[in-house]
């Protein structure tokens, strides 16, 4: 069986240097956004989704696990954070913490259940679990069902930063995104990441080498869920609401699409993919349901023609790992 990506180059000091340069360029570009006249809400939203896609990519791109239910982390963390901020009136930093912790816990439970099966069964189980949560959130009183949690106070982060000011909020989201991104980057290049990749390539061999692959997969699942949850908590401050959209299966599909477009198993691919898909939704919003059709077409085109994704194709062309 062929692996998902067949041309990951070995991690060499040179590759690390290339990646750090690209990272620095990305950070500078993003930091300059508020001075560029680009609508900051758009970029903030895209950053949240970019982090989400990166977290998802940790599982699929490096662990070979296709989760079709990652919206459950986004939605759970969003709901818990929103509830904490609005009803318990917690300060922003604690609101984020509580939401992310809830996602971590969910990652533990959902991960324990879904890694019992491999391959497409794993995907179907994650999808079913997120659908289960969708129905629970639909009925649970604290989520306010269809209405969602609205008008969430943004407050002052650490008592200093006024998050209701778009520029302040922007930099807070940006710092959150960069921190999450670096954590994922660090994980991929750690011994833990190497074991994950070996499980992706050949699980039987990893087992025979004495690795308890289930524990590695569970850990990766929890980490990915936690970071996805962190993105969900940040998004609460941007959107100021938490709604069922974030737990719906179509959201899980969008996460997959973002990563696929950017490039499964590439470091920067999910970020590029998230910006492309969010921009597309923004500019094609007037075309109604055709957006869904276009997303479908992109799915099909990516699977049939560009399995490496945008960044993957560029990296392949440059013979670099990105």
């Amino acid at each position: 069986m062929s692996a998902l990506t067949d041309d990951t180059l070995p991690v060499t000091p040179r590759a690390m240097r290339d990646e750090m340069i690209v990272f620095a360029v990305m950070a500078v570009l993003l930091a300059a956004v508020p001075f560029s006249g680009i609508y900051p809400f758009f970029v903030m939203q895209a950053l949240c989704f970019a982090l989400l896609a990166c977290a998802f990519n940790l599982l699929i791109g490096y662990g070979g696990l296709l989760s079709f239910g990652h919206a459950m982390f986004l939605g759970t963390a969003g709901y818990v954070s929103a509830h904490a901020l609005k009803v318990w009136a917690l300060p922003p930093e604690l609101g984020i913490l509580v939401g992310t912790a809830a996602a971590a816990l969910l990652g533990l439970v959902a991960g324990y259940i879904s890694i019992k099966r491999q391959g497409i069964y794993f995907s179907m189980i994650t999808l079913a679990l997120s659908q289960l949560l969708y129905f629970i959130y639909l009925q649970a009183p604290f989520t306010h069902g269809e209405d969602g949690i609205q008008g969430i106070p943004q407050g002052h982060l650490l008592g200093i930063f006024d998050l209701s000011k778009p520029t302040v909020l922007y930099y807070v989201v940006l710092v959150g995104f960069l921190a999450g991104f670096l954590l994922i980057y660090r994980t991929i290049n750690s011994p833990f990441g190497e074991v994950l990749k070996s499980i992706r390539e050949n699980e039987q061999r990893a087992i025979s080498l004495g690795y308890k692959t289930d524990q590695y997969k569970l850990l990766a699942f929890i980490l990915s869920g936690t970071l996805a949850g962190f993105a969900g908590s940040l998004k609460v401050f941007v959107a100021q609401n938490a709604s069922l959209t974030d737990v719906h299966w179509s959201m899980s599909g969008e996460i997959v699409l973002m990563t696929l477009v950017g490039g499964l198993g590439t470091i920067f691919g999910p970020v590029v993919g998230a910006f492309v898909i969010i921009a597309m939704q923004q500019y094609l919003a007037g075309f109604g349901q055709w957006v869904t059709v276009i997303q479908g077409v992109i799915f099909v085109a990516c699977v049939l023609l560009f399995r490496r994704g945008l960044v993957g194709e560029i990296a392949h062309w440059l013979r670099r790992s990105l």
Binding site: Y121, L127, A128, L260, G296, F299
Partner: protein, 287 residues
């Protein structure tokens, strides 16, 4: 007690759809090693085909029961030939992603032209009305759905497990090279199998058109439940997916009676329980 009988019977009706759909998924998975995410969209196309036949061609329910699955089945075979075929040898996950994309396209196009609200499709005259069974008033059409889908399921099982053609099919799954050596066109067989699975989905769509409305998204949520059914039953056995389909329909029916709040989630909760107790699924071999 009477109400309980009524709920059991009602559960069987739902189970018929689960059984037909999970059967189709199992047939396709057996041959192509693909989990067909487009199954729900193709089920919807079956219902729409019946609707078009009636409203554009004046062709009624009975012919539609045969024509619609064939038409949608051919559409499925075209999909297989033009797209799915290219995924042979790649990771199974790409099949899931590709068919998910196809589902988005099909559902999106139908939503653009027909909106989201349902289109009416009348019950055929011969099956209108109902019978008083003593413990409940059973609409004849619903009784027909249970009986007919049971027959179709068993016929499919017979075709695959007990006939020459079925033997080739099973053999081709195990060892395509060997079967090819017998002079059998394996790619064509794969295409036909996909067509068969898709046809079963479309047939379920026609059956459901008079009960549910004909809606572009009618299959979108259903398919996720059917996935859970498939995880519970395992896709290794045809009979297994039929029995699990009907059984889960009945359990869901009972939940609607005893604790309706959980009727949406009961199948998923069962899936979790089965995974905890017997990770390979009830009938399944390890995946």
């Amino acid at each position: 007690m009477q109400a309980l009988y009524a709920q059991l019977l009602v559960g069987l009706i739902n189970g018929s759809f689960y059984a037909l759909l999970s059967l189709g998924l199992a047939v396709i998975f057996g041959m192509l090693n693909i989990i067909n995410f487009a199954h729900g969209a193709l089920y919807m196309m079956g219902a729409f085909a019946a609707y078009f036949l009636l409203n554009l061609g004046g062709i009624g329910y009975w012919p539609a029961l045969i024509i619609a699955p064939i038409v949608v089945g051919i559409f499925g075979m075209i999909l297989e030939r033009t797209m799915l075929q290219w995924l042979a040898g790649l990771d199974h996950l790409y099949g899931l992603l590709l068919t998910f994309g196809i589902a988005l396209i099909v559902q999106g196009v139908f939503q653009n032209y027909f909106g989201s609200s349902g289109l009416p499709y009348a019950i055929p005259d011969q099956l209108k009305g109902g019978m008083n069974l003593g413990f409940m008033f059973l609409p004849i059409y619903r009784g027909w759905v249970v009986v007919f889908s049971l027959v179709v399921c068993l016929a499919t099982w017979f075709l695959i497990e007990k006939t020459q053609l079925g033997a080739y099919l099973r053999a081709a799954t195990e060892n395509p090279t060997l079967v090819r050596a017998f002079g059998i066109n394996v790619p064509r067989m794969i295409t036909l199998t996909y067509g068969l699975g898709v046809g079963l989905a479309a047939l379920a769509g026609v059956l459901s058109a008079p009960i549910n409305q004909v809606r572009p998204l009618m299959g979108a949520d259903l398919i996720i439940v059917v996935f859970a059914v498939v995880v519970i039953g395992g896709m290794g056995s045809i009979m297994g997916s039929i029995i699990t389909g009907f059984a889960l329909g009945v359990i869901e029916g009972l939940t609607k009676y005893f604790y309706p709040e959980a009727s949406n989630t009961v199948v998923f909760v069962l899936m979790v329980l089965v995974l905890l107790v017997k990770p390979t699924g009830l009938t399944g071999r390890a995946a």
